[in-house]
Symmetry: C2
Subunit: 295 residues, 2 copies
């Protein structure tokens, strides 16, 4: 196993324990809701956003115990968005991370509440734990996550997505959608990791540019994988977007140009890290990981 693979799996295991500790126990009331919250968050996903936060934390020597609380808040927002996104009134999907989706395993009403309560828990974490010696900076972290999650961030991106079904989007319109839908939360993971330590504005701007490129690359690769991979490999239903008549980078550009776009965004992301030197190595490797992944 390469040094990077070992770093990834160590961080993923560690983060799983963090989530287990931070989520309400399944035997505390209301039990069914808490069990469903744990079901929807634990044992799943590549934890791309937390890995990005960990990598940024290593870049600026932020205390890991703080970084992983911030990362958990971001991951809970991500997890809630998947639960709601899978519901019948949205994507109506039955499979997620190789398991039945929350509304299939439990029921729709529970899935709705799971998403709602995971969002609240994210803000609970960001406000309860000591993440920055300056409380005003920590308040700014709360704001960062709220904006990234809301109508001008992730939820807004999903609304643009809904409105785009069956429509021919231009490339800039598709980009706008993804900058909100996926990009906002990826950037939030990076910036929240950064705010657990100290960086100047110029450095924050560079990391944000890295995050913007990597977020978009992530989506382009997702579209390519969705068009090429099979359901077992993905752990979720493949080919859904094309079936649902949703515009993707593949339907708009074709597979080959979409792949080139991912490579170009990868290059730009690495360029943004110029000047950080060796401490940014994990972020470079994560950029490779995101663009070259097979699932």
């Amino acid at each position: 196993m390469s040094d990077f693979s070992s770093w990834v799996s160590t961080r993923q295991s560690r983060f799983e324990e963090v989530l287990k500790r931070l989520l309400p126990a399944a035997d505390t009331m209301p039990q069914r809701l808490h069990a469903a919250m744990r079901y929807s968050v634990l044992e799943g996903g590549k934890r791309v956003r937390p890995l990005l936060a960990y990598a940024v934390g290593e870049l600026n020597n932020a205390p890991i115990e703080r970084v992983e609380i911030a990362a958990a808040a971001v991951e809970l927002i991500h997890a809630y968005s998947l639960v709601h996104d899978d519901m019948p009134c949205m994507d109506d999907d039955v499979l997620r991370r190789g398991k039945p989706t929350c509304h299939i395993e439990y029921d729709e009403a529970t899935a709705l509440l799971v998403g709602d309560a995971l969002q609240s828990l994210a803000f609970h974490l960001l406000s309860e734990h000591h993440l920055n010696d300056d409380a005003a900076k920590q308040l700014h972290m709360v704001k960062l996550l709220a904006v990234a999650s809301g109508s001008r961030g992730m939820a807004g991106g999903q609304a643009i997505d809904l409105a785009s079904v069956g429509k021919q989007l231009t490339l800039p319109e598709l980009e706008q959608m993804h900058i909100h839908k996926t990009g906002a939360l990826i950037r939030a993971a990076i910036l929240l990791g950064a705010h657990c330590g100290d960086l100047n504005q110029e450095q924050l701007d560079k990391l944000d540019r890295y995050g913007k490129c990597i977020g978009l690359a992530f989506q382009v690769v997702d579209d390519v994988l969705d068009s090429e991979a099979d359901t077992t490999t993905l752990g979720k239903t493949a080919g859904k977007d094309a079936d649902n008549n949703k515009p993707t980078y593949v339907t708009l550009l074709g597979v080959s140009a979409a792949k080139n776009m991912a490579i170009e965004l990868h290059r730009e992301a690495l360029e943004a890290l110029d000047g950080f030197g060796a401490p940014a190595q994990r972020l470079r490797e994560l950029a490779d990981f995101i663009v070259m992944r097979k699932y």
Copy 2:
């Protein structure tokens, strides 16, 4: 018009303008989502929680511009819970505040996102605006609202509610449900209003006791009204709870004992205000208002 009625309507109008200003404009992207958010929040409701926050703010001379931001955050959480609660997988209701519910006026997917985005906006408001000169205290306000909204607060109460359909609950079980479902947010409105100014712990505890009693009384009166009033007066579908085989104070105690319980809670609420003197007058009047309301 009594002095109190005039205070209520002045505050309600003022608060409507606050909400109009704080909600994203309907012509900013994504327009449909923003329009649906405004539709779901504006021109509706008695604004009980904001009125409680205003009244507490007057008690401790907190700057009104701060109090109403905190009140707006609470009201957005309340509004989002109604939007999600009305959805087909929950109460499946078509009428709210005399208007079609959000998923009827727009669609289910939009209603889901409206709720999600309103919750984010609540935390955005609490973290963006200057609400306390001590940022650590303001972080505590964020935590208060997050806990009141989440699985150990409002969302948890709704989960208990779901699990109770068709079951015979005991009085303590019904009380547990409502302490979470309605009570948590009413108490949060009062405590957030209090935290915009200065009060000592003993005073906060008294206000919290007032809030606990008034929150429960609110629910008991709701059940009585639901069993006695008609749909036009309520502005929402009457008799739904009994139809849905949901336990209520009326089904458990009968109308007469439920009314007595409301009167007893009202008495306790007023008792908790002993020692605050004249500045707590609005809170006393609000207690009367909540128990004696007809809709």
